[in-house]
Amino acid sequence: MPRTFGCPAPEMEVEAAEVTLREFTEADTEAFFAWASDPRVVRFQRRDAYSHVDEARRYIVDKVLPHPWYRAICVAGADRPVGSISVKPADDLPLPEPEPGAPRCCRASVGYRVAHAYWGRGVATRAVRAAAEAVFAEWPWLARLEAIADVENRASQRVLEKAGFAREGVLRRYVVLKGTLRDMVMFSRVRDDREGKPPEAHGPSDGV
């Protein structure tokens, strides 16, 4: 069981199996449908729960496969995914061009969903950590990875805190979720943040 830094997280002691991320294929449709049809999982998402497996197939083909960064979360070496995690570069600016001085995008946002049967085992936390490390390595232009969580979604807020994200504040009436206005908590991890140290501690004088 790998050593964890920072605050103790008792729920991670239970079945702390390895989490791996891989690309989706259409063959994952049934597994995808399992969590995408669960009202508990989609409660804090814009989308309603799917009622037919074809909705999941269509979503994988139309949205997941062409997505800039969308991964299946697999646990303990099993190939059947138990959730998904996606990272979306900010779309208000074009992706960076190679020439210097051109407008650049420096941020992306991460979202994740895990099947209910796998809640409480640190799966999402490990997936977020792995995704963060991957995108910071793959995208040199990335300075900030952010995530928003509904003010009532305490489980997701804990995932982000344990994954080394800093809570920046509550954005009031930020989105409409299933017809209601929601306040959202903004979290971020920036390139300089390191695992296990509080994000605010870093400065030019740190010998890290």
């Binding site: 800093a166 920046e168 504040g169 009436r173 989105v175 971020s188 920036v190």
Partner: protein
């Protein structure tokens, strides 16, 4: 300071050059100072005139009715949320023009000009303390600092997030209707061409 907000016209381009060419004004803006009116006219024609909400800031009660700045509300990924932007010519700094314009913009956009709007947000550079004071005086609430949020003129910047939501607007209206002494200025948003802009 009394201001009015109105739609821009192409004939405003010369007045716009006063702030659009000023490096001190442009310092915290997304654009570089304009060096000639041709590209500014193109910006006015292609971005400002068709924009969902873009207004000229004009001063009332003086000799010169030309615009001294601009205020806008940009759409975001969600229709409930708009992003505020504003700019004022340096000659008018320190007189409360920006604050008055922001208050007027908020009243207008929540007063029916932007359907479905629930949240106006302003993202201000952490070093732009003058602009932070403008939105604070206009009643915005500071929500937090978004680290490395924005790539601006070669550097990644931390921005402060502020918001003014529709219930803030209702609370303010209710406060001022209970106390006539603190009535908000009536901010007129005139849509007819400004007959005084005849210097073309």
């Amino acid at each position: 300071m009394e201001v009015t907000l109105r739609r821009f016209e192409l004939s405003d381009v010369d007045a716009m050059m006063a702030w659009a060419s000023d490096p001190e004004v442009a310092a915290f803006c997304r654009w570089e100072p304009y060096e000639s009116t041709e590209p500014l006219l193109a910006y006015l024609r292609d971005t400002v005139l068709p924009h969902p909400w873009f207004r000229a800031i004009c001063l009332t009660g003086g000799e010169d009715a030309r615009p001294v700045g601009a205020v806008s509300l940009a759409p975001t990924a969600d229709t409930c949320r708009g992003e505020l932007g504003y700019v004022v010519a340096r000659a008018q700094w320190g007189k409360g023009v920006a604050t008055a314009a922001v208050k007027g913009a908020v009243a207008a956009v929540f007063g029916g000009e932007v359907e479905g709007l629930e949240r106006v947000e302003a993202l201000v550079d952490v070093d732009n303390t003058a602009s932070q004071r403008v939105v604070e005086k206009a009643g915005f609430r500071r929500e937090g600092v978004l680290r490395r949020h924005y790539w601006h003129k070669g550097r990644v910047r931390d921005l402060v997030m502020y918001s003014f939501i529709s219930s803030d607007h209702l609370a303010e209206q209710s406060r001022s209707s209970r106390n006539p002494a603190t009535q908000l200025q009536h901010f007129s948003t005139i849509c007819v061409p400004n007959r005084m802009c005849s210097f073309f």
